[in-house]
Amino acid sequence: MSAHTTDMPPKQRFKISKRYLPYVLSLPALLVCIGILIPFFTAVAYSLQRYRLSQPWARQYNWGENYLNFMTDPAFWNTLQVSLTYAFLTVGIELLLGLGIALLLQKRTRFNNFVSIMLLMPLMTAPALASLMWKLMTNPGFGVLSYWATLIGIDDMRWASDPSTAMLTVVLVDVWVYTPFIMILLLAGLRSLPRQPFEAAELDGVPRLFVFWKITLPMLTPFLLTAVLFRVIESIQQFDIIYAMTQGGPGDKLTVFQVEAYLNFFQSTNVGRSAALLMILWVITYILSTIFIKNWLRLRERARGEA
């Protein structure tokens, strides 16, 4: 392009490139956008079809039937309940723990910075591998955690293979992996707060608990909201940890949305039901992510304005 534009006066050259340049530069991103949208709309179509890989001849549009069937399908309500429980438990625990750790490490000392970097290690671990690590530690035969359980009087702790403790086990792995994420976000938030209100409160001798509830927490709210929304979006679609640990079992104890959809597609080859499940999950995450992105952009604007 530059070869035949060199003869033109500079001003003209600037104009031409200005008109087409953005499109040339963002073309790949556009293509990826299309590359995502095509499978997405295909999935929408699948969700409106009676479509089983094992019976391709019976494939036809049944419109809303897959969705209507969910109303009376106990497996669907189980999936919804398990997913919400998982998201609620993981994000709740991670938020409290992450906030606590961030408050402990708030002061910028060498030691605190070192600890916060060290605590990032679980977050660097692939969730699927984290599950394997915990699997080795919770093995009923030789796992160190199973041994510790016997020390406090629980002789028959079977962790992920026991229906009553399966949820607890995967939540534990999730908390181990993702608490550092919330911690690091809140730590950055805490350290970016203006100092004046805290100094004023200290001069007046305001009790620390009061300062925390009335100053720290309200000022930290945008960061808390960002962290929580981000984690809820990810947690409600958790797949890696659960699949690597139990593949959704025992029974249907841990068949969260994506695990159930995966099993539907590859085991029962029911593409229609699988796609419909994913569509419902998509609607949930889409609403949450729209709120998240808006909130996050506002936070970024503010951070930029203050900088």
């Binding site: 050259r13 963002s26 499978p39 060290m118 660097m124 030789f142 597609f265």
Partner: protein
């Protein structure tokens, strides 16, 4: 700061020790396990006293697994290579495509730019299976199933939005005056981009690249759905490895250590970029 009482110091110390213990112990324990034979692993009660051995790592690297009944061929190093290859190529492709696009989104506002950026970002949060399942069917039709090219393409789904959004924020922070000054001095667009914009956004590009690499390395679901055994990265390979090796727990532990070592090393080496990238450029504290 208010005066800190001894009691508070003790409480803080205890809390912090518990936190460090909870988050570090699993890594420490698996690390120890990777230097043990089955005999010492299976001891009850578990103990930290043992004679360290390198056999687990040696058999992983040589690719032969001495089982109790037979010798087994394993391709763990192949998985490790796949992880490295897939992550490095995806991030390189992602940066080549994403950085110029991020610049366009940040500096040359054009019609539809916000919509494209928003669509990309909102699909970053969409369930990956929603896109993956139809893609498996498409990929089989167009011959991309179980190829590196197909996988690298799919990896762009996570790599590209990440790079786009982080780098875009950094480009937006560059005052346009600097760029105008360079252009008025008679330099073209390309020169402005490479000599002014790129160096100034350098830290952002590094942060985005680092984070994208970690996300790609740790990804599990893409390869689980789309790759067969010889294309699988360690995350998927390790799972298959557990079933194949049966009861060679020491080797499983060694495999896990080898698989998490690269991201750990990167994180330690580039911690500043990591923290910046993780907060998504949202907070600059």
């Amino acid at each position: 700061m208010q005066s800190v009482s001894t009691l508070e110091r003790v409480l803080r110390g205890t809390a912090l020790s518990l936190v460090i213990f909870f988050f570090m112990f699993p890594i420490f324990w698996i690390f120890l396990m990777s230097f043990q034979t089955n005999e010492t692993i299976l001891r009850v009660p578990p103990s930290m006293v043992f004679e360290p051995t390198l056999t687990n790592y040696r058999s992983l690297i040589s690719g032969t697994l001495e089982g109790s009944t037979a010798t087994l061929e394993i391709r763990f190093m192949g998985n490790l290579y796949n992880s490295l290859f897939l992550s490095v190529t995806s991030v390189t492709v992602g940066l080549l495509l994403g950085v110029p696009a991020a610049y366009a989104f940040a500096k040359l506002k054009f019609r539809g730019s916000e919509d494209i950026a928003f669509t990309l970002l909102s699909f970053r949060f969409a369930p990956p299976l929603l896109v993956l399942l139809p893609l498996t069917i498409y990929f089989q039709k167009i011959g991309l199933a179980d190829t590196y090219v197909g996988l690298i393409w799919v990896y762009q789904l996570i790599v590209l939005p990440l790079i786009l959004w982080i780098v875009r924020g950094y480009f937006e922070d560059i005052p346009s005056d600097i760029e105008y000054a360079h252009r008025i001095a008679g330099h073209g667009f390309w020169s402005t981009f490479t000599k002014i914009a790129l160096p100034l956004a350098g830290p952002g590009i590094a942060a985005a690249g680092l984070l994208a690499f970690i996300f790609a390395w740790n990804n599990f679901i893409f390869a689980l759905v789309l790759a067969s055994a010889d294309k699988q990265p360690v995350t998927v390979g390790a799972l298959a490895f557990i079933t194949a090796s049966g009861i060679n727990y020491g080797q499983i532990a060694a495999g896990i250590m080898l698989s998490i070592a690269p991201t750990f090393a990167l994180a330690l080496y580039a911690q500043r970029y990591l923290v910046e990238g993780l907060s998504l450029g949202a907070v600059k504290g």
